[in-house]
Symmetry: C2
Subunit: 257 residues, 2 copies
Amino acid sequence: MIQDRELYSFFEQGEKLYQRGLSIDSVIFGFHDNQLKVLLTKLKNIDFWAVAGGFVYKNEHVDAAAIRILKERTGLSDIFLQQFYVFGDPNRSDKKFHIDRMKKVGWNFTKDYWLLQRFITVGYYALVEFSHVNPKPDSMSDSCDWHDIHELPDLIMDHEQILKKALEVLRTQLKYQPVGYNLLPKKFTMPELQKLYETILDKKLDRRNFQRKMLGYGILKRLEKRREGGAHKAPYLYSFDLRKYHKALKEGLHGEW
Amino acid sequence: MIQDRELYSFFEQGEKLYQRGLSIDSVIFGFHDNQLKVLLTKLKNIDFWAVAGGFVYKNEHVDAAAIRILKERTGLSDIFLQQFYVFGDPNRSDKKFHIDRMKKVGWNFTKDYWLLQRFITVGYYALVEFSHVNPKPDSMSDSCDWHDIHELPDLIMDHEQILKKALEVLRTQLKYQPVGYNLLPKKFTMPELQKLYETILDKKLDRRNFQRKMLGYGILKRLEKRREGGAHKAPYLYSFDLRKYHKALKEGLHGEW
DNA sequence: TTATTATTGTGTCATGACAACACATTAAGC
DNA sequence: GCTTAATGTGTTGTCATGACACAATAATAA
């Protein structure tokens, strides 16, 4: 089976390709149907899911590895991607999980095989535009899909903790930095932007105050009228003023929600 | 020479004791003479300094290692200590530095010796009470002292970058979280607290507005009058209300500077 | 065609945080 | 007792924010 050959090859090559004891786990967030989604991969031979992870090549910058992995899973580059935490529990790895999989593909390993040793993982989180993503599983997974953050399947090892922490950091960041450029299409309406904020914060916001505040940041440009397909009054379309947006990204916003 | 024997022993034992390719660097901040200080160690056999660093034992939690190293350098535990970044450049290590030192103490190494391989480091920063610290150098250093952050000596490898990043994060944190409990003595005056903020932010603040704002957080308790040694009017003494302080640490403050 | 209904655009008002600033109070040194 | 320099306390105008009202628009039902 071709997939298992891929996995076998990973077991065979990994030790000499990758930096030992170091992995990357990226929590990739998207927004769709008014819901905050996370990209998860379904692992082969086991009924568990994982956030987008991978390893660091021996001569590769850790941040570069995160960018590469994001690109491999989504096809996207030039994306908001940020370190948020290092998970360094000596017992965070699940050896049994690796052993089962190696046995299944017939890979002969020794007790000191690299994958069975201690790993620490650097957590990243990414914000991507849902519709631009073309999810691709890696050699260790047989599918890669979006999941609502309120309906998560069983996650491997400490990935639930990683995801929760990423979400916490995202919520904190949202208060001080503009978010949206990476999560929404180029043109969007104010209600859509508001839904995004409400979803991330898990909180209702006042429509009028929200608009006043967002416009107050001066990072939005108002365009012509909306695609008038929707019922009721057609809302304006907006896009981000990239120059001011990036300025705000650096300098931060003000106030809280 | 006893110190060199220590260093030799480190070269000898390190490989089997420590997790490979992983180090910790803690930027330890203190406040004294109205200046923000950093604890630096002077490395043996070379005219460079380093922030408080160390390695992680093979079965030790990364955060636990940071706590241990902080304790080894300062004698303190139960201190504000926080991860802030992972430095993952594949070329951040300076092999020549290690080679020189190994040659000096007469340690015979091979080309694949652990210290000569790639290291990534997890950056932590700590806030400590200056007067409580009893600086102790480690086996790789021959002294350990406080330095004003405006008068830094030459730092090894990427330690200047690490320090700068820590400072940046500290400044950002200061806006949203209370700082001071760990940097000031139990009892302090409002002008002292203000000086601390002014020093970290590198910015003059209005005396009256500062007081109003700090008191507004409700994390301070006013005590009796000041040690009346100083000239002029004696200011009140304050201490932190620990319960409310820790609540504010979790929930964050509000507003900016 | 007209009324209904849901949604968006825009505005008002009271509250509270904050920056800028004034004046009284206290302690040390002359 | 007077000067000086620092601290304790209060005032005012501005601005961001939360709570809320009303008009405008577009699809649907009558």
